[in-house]
Every structure is written in C-alpha cells, then in structure tokens.
C-alpha cells in the first residue's frame, strides 16, 4: 500500500459520487488505495468514516478528505467482512495520512502456498501447491501504526478473502463456487504483477549492460518500464520483484539505476537490507515517475555525472 498525496478538493468539481471519483482518480492515479490494483473498469469510492459506500451515495464537498478509491474486490471484502467488519471507532492505516510515511506492508513471494478447493460436502475437490505474493506487516514500525495496519489489512483482507491467515502455513481455501468462478482476483493479479516485475528487472539489467553505449538507450528502456508499472498497478509488489531480480543479478544495479534516474553520481547508499530496499523503492518510483522528455532536457548534466560514475566503476 503506497502513500497517497491527496490535494485539496478541486474547485469546480460537483460534490457527487461520480464527479468526485473522477477528480480523485485524476489527482492521485486510478489505483485501488488498498491493494493497488489499477481501476480500469470502474471507479469506486470508500469513505473513511462511512465505510463501504453504495453506488452514487450522496456526497458533499466535506467528504473529500475521507474519500479513497477502491477496487471491486477490496470493496467486496470490506462489505462482506463479518469477522473484522468496518468500525469507525477503530484506528486504521489510511494511505493518505502521515502514518503512511511509514511503510507498513511488505510484499513477499512465497512458494509453498497450498490451494485447496472443497466440495459442498467438505471433501477435497482439488489441492495444489503454488506461489503467491503475501502481504505482511513490517516489523520496524511504531506500535500505533502496526495496530492500525492490522486493522486495515484485516478489513480489506489484503491477502484475499480465501486466505487462511496463517503466514507460516499459507493456504487459500476455496469454496467450490470460488473455484469455478473466481471472484477475488487480487492474489492472482498480485502474483502476475510480481512475475511482470521479474521480467522488468531482467529487462532493466539487460539495458544497463548497454550503458557504455550511451545512456539515452537505458533511460528509454527505463521509461518504457515505467509505462508498464503504470499499467499493472500493484506498485509495491512490482517494485519488490524488480529489486529482488536486480539484486539477484548484481548488487550494484539498483544504486546505479537510482543514480541514473536521480541524475546524481553513483553515491554510496544503504545496503540492500529491507529498510534500505524500501527507501530505494521510493526513490526508484519517484525517479521513474518523471517524464522521459524532462529527463532528456537535462541530458548534458547527467551525461557528465554518469560518465564520471562509469569511469569510476570501470
């Protein structure tokens, strides 16, 4: 779940559900605030005080600070959650608040996940083992934030409605109906994002081998990967996969790419432990968010610093 910087209520925006959804999408990007899924099908709103909203629920301009974009799957999870239902008196980890400056959730690929579907009589319909990207809470956040993150993760069931909640023995336990007609696509889509992140990391590493031939090419490839990121959403997962891939190839690739994107020499950075990776993730994301053309305008200065860095490296 990545931090969201929400602007003031845009003037001229009608205080209606659809208009505010469009305005919010334009302002912060059309992604689910909770699972980070791209909202390419429909814009839905979640209200931090009122919870799940009905279609076209009445709005006023005062609701703007409480609104977050939400996907259909997170919306379904929150609205059908009988174990940990929405409670306006609880503290939640909202991505548009200061609390989100602390990275509360981590996204890790796990390979020993059981997928089991049951028939109505309880017998096993199918059982397999596979991979999933599981959302876990970070351990280096303050207790208040940790408690709020627990509430948010539970409300939206970020690992999917059919996750057994056991991180040491992870399993997805499906009803026959869910097995036949998947209704919660978040785990599958998150795994897809991870796999595409691996592809992106591989492509970035390959491009970096061409840096001696000119940085324009590398920047261009990175800009292309940035488009991929915008299309896939699941930014946190995608970044995790990119970093894991790059680090697996060469521990120096990430700092070199960050340096390239931030237009600074190859400066020393934190070692790629979890905390460092998270910070890098932010830098990386911010850097890649810049427009390609804007970077090219500053080409001369970057050329100089990078050629220095490359010389140092070689």
């Amino acid at each position: 779940m990545q931090a969201i910087k929400k602007p003031q209520f845009p003037a001229q925006t009608a205080p209606t559900y659809p208009a505010m959804a469009v305005a919010l999408g334009n302002a912060v990007g059309r992604y689910c605030s909770f699972c980070e899924k791209p909202l390419t099908y429909r814009l839905r709103l979640f209200h931090k005080q009122r919870g799940v909203l009905a279609d076209n629920a009445p709005m006023t301009a005062q609701d703007w600070p409480s609104l977050l974009l939400i996907c259909g799957d997170c919306n379904t999870a929150a609205s059908t959650n009988s174990t940990t239902p929405f409670n306006p008196n609880l503290a939640y980890y909202w991505p548009d608040t200061d609390a989100a400056n602390q990275v509360a959730f981590l996204y890790n690929l796990v390979s020993n996940v059981t997928f089991i579907a049951h028939k109505p009589d309880g017998s096993v319909l199918e059982q397999t083992t596979g991979s999933a990207v599981l959302v876990t809470r970070a351990t280096d956040i303050d207790p208040q934030t940790a408690a709020a993150a627990l509430n948010t993760g539970s409300l939206f069931q970020l690992n999917g409605r059919f996750f057994n909640g056991n991180l040491s023995q992870p399993a997805y336990i499906l009803t026959e109906d869910e097995y036949m007609v998947a209704t919660d696509l978040r785990p599958m889509a998150r795994l897809d994002a991870y796999e595409r992140g691996v592809e992106a990391g591989t492509a970035a590493a390959q491009a970096m081998t061409r840096l001696p031939l000119g940085q324009k090419y590398v920047r261009n490839v990175l800009a292309m990967l940035d488009i991929s990121l915008k299309l896939i959403g699941f930014h946190s997962t995608w970044r995790s996969a990119v970093f894991a891939t790059l680090n697996g190839i060469d521990q120096q690739l990430v700092p070199r790419i960050v340096a390239l994107l931030n237009q600074t020499p190859d400066a020393p950075i934190d070692p790629p432990v979890e905390r460092g990776r998270k910070r890098l993730a932010r830098d990386f994301d911010t850097g890649m968010g810049d427009a390609d053309l804007k970077r090219r305008d500053k080409k001369a200065r970057v050329d100089q610093t990078l050629s220095q860095a490359i010389k140092t490296k070689s």
């Binding site: 492509a203 390959q206 299309l231």
Partner: protein, 528 residues
Amino acid sequence: MRPVDMQPRTLHPHYDGSLFDNITGAPLWLISDTTWTNAKIQKIKENNRLYHYFRHNYAWPGGPAKGGVPVKPAPLPLQPADQIIGAAVAVPAWQVATDTYDTANPLNVNARLVQVQKGGSTDYVLRVLLSLDQALDLWRVWKEGVWNGVTPTTISKAVAREIAKRIEAKKKTAPNIPAWQPGTFYGYRGAMRELVPAIGRYCSYCECRGIDGDTFEIEHRLAKSAYPSDYLRWENFLLACGYCNQAKNPQPDRASGTQLAIAGGAVAPVPYHQIRQAADKNYHWPSSNDSGVAPPAQPTNYSLRCVKYRLIEYNAAGAQVGQINAQDAVHFQNQGGDDDATGRFVNATVWNSVNGATRQALVRVELAATNPGTGAPALDAQKLASATRTITMCNLNGIANAGQDRRAIERTHAWFKAIEKLRGLRDALTAIASWELAGAPPGPTAPLVTDRNQLWNNVAGDAELSGYFSVWLTVFRRFSATGAANGIDYATRLVNALNQRGTAVSNNPYRYRGWSLQNSVLSQIPNI
C-alpha cells in the same frame, strides 16, 4: 473486437463417461418404460453418476423458483437389485417432429431396449440416446409446447417433458456429487474455467481486461432466455464485462431474431432454427468464423476489418466535433492526459498537421463499423450491418454511467499508452540498429537479439495489461508501413510477440489466447 477462436470443445454430456452408449459413444438417458410405444413413460433411471450441468443456482426461464437454495443434482441410482440381464437391443429410432436448433430436419432420437431384472421380475429399460443438443432442444419444445404451428408428437413431447422434469428435479435435492473431472465444466458458469484459458480474461466486446472478480461474466452470444437450446453450447459462449453484458442483455431476443429472419426472406411462422440462425448471422461475433458458407481449413474472422477504431474529438459542451485524421491521431507527439471532469472524455495533447504543432483536445476512441472489403459485396453489406448492430447492442461507444463505466475512457487511454510505448520502442530499436551498423561493443549480433526480444516482450506485456487489443494493433499498424521499410512491421511483430506470450504460459489469464486464427488476424489488421 478482437477475433477469437473458441476451438471446438467436446461438450461434456449430462453424465460421465460410464453412461455413454458403449457402441456409439452417445450419452444415455435411461427411460424405463414397458409400454413406451404408448408414450406412457413411467420413470427415468440413471446410474449413480455425476450430473454435471445445472448445478449452480440457475433457474430455467419460467422454471420453478429455487428460493436461493443452492441447486444440486439428485442422482437417481439404479436399485441394487436392478441388474441388466440382456444385451442392448436397438429399437427403431423415432422422430420428433420439430425443428432443432440448427436444422429443419426432425430430431432423430435413437434408443436401445435393455432387459433388466427388477426385484425378481423382468423389466425393460429404454435407453434413449440424446446428445446435449438434443436434450436441450427437446426441453425447449416441452417448455414451449407448440412452436410456430409445429405440434410435437405425443411421444416426443412426453419424452421432452420427462427429460425436462428430471432436469428440474435434479436441481432440488442434495446430491452425492462425485469428483469434478478436470477438463469438463458444469453449468454455464463452470465454463469459466475453460473459457479464460481459451481466450484470456478480456471482454469479448469492449476488450477491457477483466480485473474485478464480481464484474466479469460468461456471455451468451444468443441470449439464453430466448434461445435455450444454446444455453450450454460452447460455441455460444464468450466472456463479457458487466457493462457490455448489461447493455446487451437479453439481445438478440426471439422477436428481433424473427424480424431479421423475415427480413432475410423467411416466411412466418418462422421455424425456430431459422430465427436462431438469423440472430446469429446478423450480428458480428468476435468468435465467428466469417469465411462464408464452406468452412475453410484456416478459419477467417473479419472482426478487425469490420470494426475500426478512431480518435474522435468533442467540444467542451460534449458535442462531437469530428474524427481526428489518422496521421494526427497516432502522431508521436500525442500525449494522453487526465479524464475530463465529466468522466466522458480524455484531455489529450494531439498533433495538428495543419499548423505543425500540438493542441489540447477532448477526445475519445470510438468504434466504427466498416465494410470489410472482402470482395464479396453482398457479404460485405451484411457484415457492415452486423457490426453496426453489435456496436449498438453493447453500447460500445456509449458510457452507461459517467464516472463509473470506463470502457470508452480506458480505450482512449490505451490509445495514448500504445503511442507512448511505440515511441520508446522505436527509439530503442533504432539505437540497437545503429550499434549493429557501427559494430559497437560488446558484440554486433547475438546479444542484441536478446535486447530486441526483451523490448518486444515488454511491449506485448503492456498490451496485455492495457487490454483493448484492437486499439494497440490499430496504433501499431499505422507505423507498419513506415517500419517495414526498415525491416520492422510493428503490428505483425506485436501479434507474434503476443502469440508467443500467450502460448508460453498456460495458467496466466492475462494473455491473449484463441490464436488459431492468428494467420487471419495478421491479414486483417486495420489501417486507420
């Protein structure tokens, strides 16, 4: 509409394999009736076997309400004492005097008579051999009684009634359900497990990516309420997003099918099969084999030629200004921007070749039915009309609920994303080509193949993520002519890269599949 090839599937019968006729392979219905010639069918028995279909809450149109209780089939096992003691004896086939879903010929119902021992006495069991199609046709006849002046014979009606009764009876009580067999499906909802791997999790009409679990559905080309004989027919399935499905439902219905049939020369009262065929033929379906009368070895689908994608400009009042010419519409200077405040258009930067500069415009990518230009005027006119009907039927150029229905808006974003991606791709490929020409290190040829392949893989991956396959192909096609001069046919390369990705991974739903039509896709890629 992206052409897809549904690939013929062997429909799973009502029963599993052990209830196939061991001579013909046809599925069996067991009808015990010592006086069957008088159509007094007393009961139907079936072995204790899986009843695959109708397991998921589906209420037949006009059928009894289920009260929300999950519907499960009830196996009606042969009693332990019921022993088959005689070999199957073929009995004369009888004909059901009604037209079937696809032909005016009477339905031939084959049967075998089997002698069984029942509780110390000998009885006869009539095994009626019905395919799924036949069963559904008979069911329809029973439901409709007399259809367009054709009165079913007593026996056929009685058989149909009995079958329908059993179908509904099976839905009421809890079953002892044997294991589901991979590769089969039950109930039309169960076909989702076969449809997604077959054609990808994309709407067959608007081409959006099925990203939310609750808004993606199995689509019946011919509405299941109006054409129940196609309720479970694989060829009648597509996948659709909620907005397209909602707009379409329940079209084409019986009335519109009848009108189309009469317009095509049919005489009232129009037989069912003619209505059905008219409805099927007079709309454009992404899974159609459009080659004409005789199916060729390589099926052809004109989806990409029948429907073109164009960038349309609107003014601030929401009125259409007109189409932006093809050259400007895909210019590399174009940039997609935010949604406009109404959620109906996209603010974009668009090239204006008149003054050689960009300008801001409110735009939307829309579909236009076109004459496919296949060289057969009559066929072309029909295809043009069919594509027009489908676009209207699914409201593909409309927005059902501004701010929520994002089909047209995302289609437009896909347009600009494709341009942006193509721009990066072209620059990168140009750089690689220049290195090769210069013989630059670290090597002129083999390693750069990897670079190129990864670029194309990345571009194809984005086309998968974006959805709106036809939009991507349209944009890429615009540069194919130019690119071909440099040895790069962008659209063809994109199709090939998508095909490679689609065939390389079997369990990822976000791949474009259904590609045995690939050859015809390549020749049909539109040039806007």
